[in-house]
Structures are given as C-alpha cells and as structure tokens.
C-alpha cells in the first residue's frame, strides 16, 4: 500500500493564516494530549484557524511507561475543569489496559476513539482491517520518524549494545511509516530506520486521520 485515502479531504488543508498562530492559554476547549501529537495538533489548529482550543501535553516518553498516564490525565482534568467550557483527551488507550477509560468515565470526559495513535491516525476501521497482515509490523509516525535516534535507537540501548536488536525486533518483519505529512526528509529517515532495524519498509500516507475529524467536531 503506497498511499492511503486522504482523510484530510474532510477538512482541506488551508494555507497557514498570516495572522493566525496558535497561542497557549486561549480557547475554551482544553485538549489534553500525548506530547507525541503536539505538533500535529498545533498544525491542525493553525491550518484551520481554530480559536476554540487550548492544548496541554503530557510527556511523549510515557509511551514506554503507560501506567503513569491515567492519573496524570486525571490531575490535569481536575486542575483545569473550572477554567474551560469542555475538555477532550487525545490519547488512545495507549497501553493503559482500560485504566485511562476508567479515569475518564469517573471524570466525565471523553477521548478520541481507538487503541493508540497508529490506529486513529490511520482510521480505526482501516487499521483493524489490516491488523492480521500487520501482526509483525513496527509502526513509525512523523513524530517517531523524527525522533527515531533518540527514542528508539538510543532509548532502547541498541546504539550502545547492538546485541539487543534481535531481542527487541526479532519478531518484526516490516516497518510501516504512517506519514501525517508529505515530507521527503522524514520519509528518508523512516526508510533508513527500517534498514537499520533489518526490516522491510512500507510507506503509508495517513494524513491526520481521525485526529483531524475529532477536532473538527469540537472546534
């Protein structure tokens, strides 16, 4: 699959407004998000000139320690509930094993649908359809392609200890780069990452997928 349906058609990418840049602290809808989505969220806000949103992010590195996410989200909700008209959470379940959903139900706050960002950026239904063939796939998003060296190559200790590579990636056969933007430099990085991990490479353009749709509905 070289190029997926462009789900951004639902909200055409507008040229960035000269007079519109996202500014934190404005807007009456708070988006609580994973730091790995910050750039994409701001890009969408600016491209669509949405004035409704404010954004607070939690560390992207918590991807590796998801047990920290639910209570941190709860704290942000409680600290901010009285200051915003509404709050929306931009996390999938993200390895919290249902605990994030439990917190959100208790706090009366909704989140974007889907188990993780690979799924909602692709589109949850479409992601499910290829789940079986993607069993041995390692996914990169724009964020992960950009920070591959820091988060994966160095972060998992492979740079210092190449003998760890088969322990982490021995069961994978393919790296799929789920691209949010058309960026040849990032694509080159993703392709190189696949080669370094010894995996086949595939490019799938997703755009912002259901992230864009979810924000459009709340703008």
């Amino acid at each position: 699959m070289d190029d997926m349906d462009n789900r951004d058609a639902a909200f055409p990418e507008l040229p960035p407004g000269e007079d519109f840049a996202f500014t934190r602290g404005r807007g009456d809808v708070l988006l609580i998000a994973c730091g790995a989505l910050a750039r994409e969220i701001v890009a969408l806000i600016e491209a669509n000139r949405w004035r409704a949103f404010d954004v607070q992010c939690l560390p992207a590195i918590w991807h590796n320690t998801p047990s920290r996410i639910p209570e941190a989200v709860r704290r942000l909700i409680r600290d901010n509930k009285s200051r915003y008209r509404s709050i929306f959470v931009l996390y999938g379940d993200c390895g919290t094993g249902g605990l994030l959903d439990k917190v959100l139900a208790e706090e009366g706050v909704e989140r974007i649908a889907g188990p993780h960002c690979y799924s909602f950026l692709t589109g949850n239904e479409r992601f499910d359809k290829t789940a079986e063939e993607d069993l041995t796939t390692f996914f990169l998003t724009d964020y992960l392609a950009r920070h591959f060296d820091k988060l994966i190559w160095e972060g998992l200790g492979i740079a210092a200890h190449p003998e760890l590579l088969p322990l982490y990636f021995g069961n994978y056969t393919k790296l799929v780069y789920l691209a949010q933007t058309r960026d040849p430099a990032l694509e080159a990085k993703a392709r190189e990452a696949a080669a370094r991990l010894g995996l086949a490479y595939e490019y799938r353009f997703t755009g912002y997928g259901e992230l864009g749709l979810a924000l459009t509905a709340r703008a």
């Binding site: 998801p66 200790g157 200890h161 760890l164 982490y168």
Partner: protein, 234 residues
C-alpha cells in the same frame, strides 16, 4: 583476562566471587558471568548452588532495581543475556546432577501479539527458580495452549500480552478451559505491561504478575498452597 586494571576473578574467594558475579550480571557482562560460573564449578560448587546463589540471586537484585526505576529495560535485557549465558553452562549439569523441581509451566504470548521480552524474562527466571518451562513463543491461539497442556501436563499456565487489543484474548483461553472443565487443574498466571490486578481477577486468572520476580514468588506461593490443599483433601 587482560589489561592492568581488570580484575582476576580467580583471585577472589567464593564469597567475593559470588558478589562479583552479581555485579557482573547487573552490568550485563556475559563473558565475565560465564567465567565466574566456570570458576565456581571448578571449585566443586554444585551446579544448583551456582545457579541459585550466583545467578538467581544476582537477577533478583536486578529485578528489584528495575521495579524501583533504577534500571530500565535495556539494562535488564543485558543482565538477562548474561544470565542466559551462565544458564547455558549450568543447564546440562543440572540435568546430570539433579536439582529440586518445583513444578512445570507452559508459557506463551497470546494470539495477535508478538511481544516476548517480558515473557522470556519470566521463563528464564522461572527456570532459574526450579520450574520446568515449556515456552510456546508468540501469537498463540487457544488451540496451541490446549495442545501444550495436553502434551506437557503443566502445573501452571502463563500468558503474556503487551497490547490492550490482545490482552482480552487471555479470557478466551481461560473461558475455554472452564468450558472443558479443566480450569481448576491449573494455576493461571498472567502478565504484560497493560495488565493489572483488576483485569486478572475479571478474566478469572489466579494472579497478575507485574514482573518476572513477582511471577516467581507468586508461582512458588500458589504451588505451595496447592500442595497443602491437595494434602488436606487426601
């Protein structure tokens, strides 16, 4: 060994050498661990004593520091690799000399999931603790668990999952065991990053094990309780 500042393991007494093996395991120094194991064997230590006092105890310390956030996954994997190398030396000797066996475990990652780092650590630590371990690998459908149970007749069934989307499959396996009237014949232990106690209870597992060290302790405790129960009913 070479180099002026390198330690000659042979110059250490038994206690110092055991301590040094703990340190070398902690630092993931595979060759040094193997050398230490061979020296202790050469001094007449029983393979089981080397396994428990040098390797298992060393990994126990690694496990504690992992739980406390002092060590991270890469360091634990390096330590595990070093332990694995030491176990490779000891395994044939343990078979020859015999060692206390605590029970048998069948373990595997569930269907739809290919993550096996945690599962492999549990398998290794269980083996080190005296359990026979049958590792089914990754992506196991319920049929594969049933077949392994039939073939190997384990005491414990261990299931692992890293994904929120695959962890519910553990319930499929447990429910199938119930349907076949086999559930109570086995202890079912589950683990994996997105799991928690509540989930384990909800799907009908005997226990959730947050890491390899907990898995070993839980398995020992539940096996002891099971023996006591069987003895009381006899």
């Amino acid at each position: 060994m070479s180099g002026d500042d390198e330690l000659d393991l042979r110059s250490l007494n038994d206690e110092e050498l055991t301590q040094q093996i703990h340190d070398d395991l902690y630092d993931g120094l595979k060759e040094e661990v193997v050398e230490g194991v061979n020296i202790l064997l050469g001094r007449g230590w029983a393979p089981y004593k080397v396994l428990t006092e040098a390797l298992v105890e060393g990994m126990r310390i690694v496990g504690i520091d992992f739980r406390d956030g002092i060590l991270f996954v890469p360091e634990v994997l390096l330590a595990a690799n070093a332990m694995k190398a030491g176990m490779a030396v000891l395994r044939p000797l343990l078979i020859e000399t015999g060692a206390p066996r605590l029970g048998k475990m069948v373990i595997g990652t569930v269907k739809g999931d290919i993550h096996d780092i945690g599962k492999n650590l549990v398998g290794m630590m269980m083996e080190g603790a005296g359990f026979d371990v049958v590792d089914l690998g990754i992506n196991n459908p319920v049929e594969k668990y049933l077949e392994a149970i039939e073939t190997h007749k384990p005491d414990i069934l261990g299931m692992s999952a890293l994904l929120t989307t695959t962890m519910p499959y553990m319930k499929v396996v447990i429910d199938t065991l119930k349907e076949k009237g086999m559930r109570d014949d086995y202890l079912v232990l589950v683990g994996g990053a997105p799991l928690n106690e509540e989930f384990a209870k909800a799907i009908g597992a005997d226990a959730y094990c947050r890491d390899a060290a907990v898995a070993v302790e839980t398995a020992k405790e539940l096996m002891a309780r099971r023996h006591n129960r069987l003895a009381a009913n006899a």
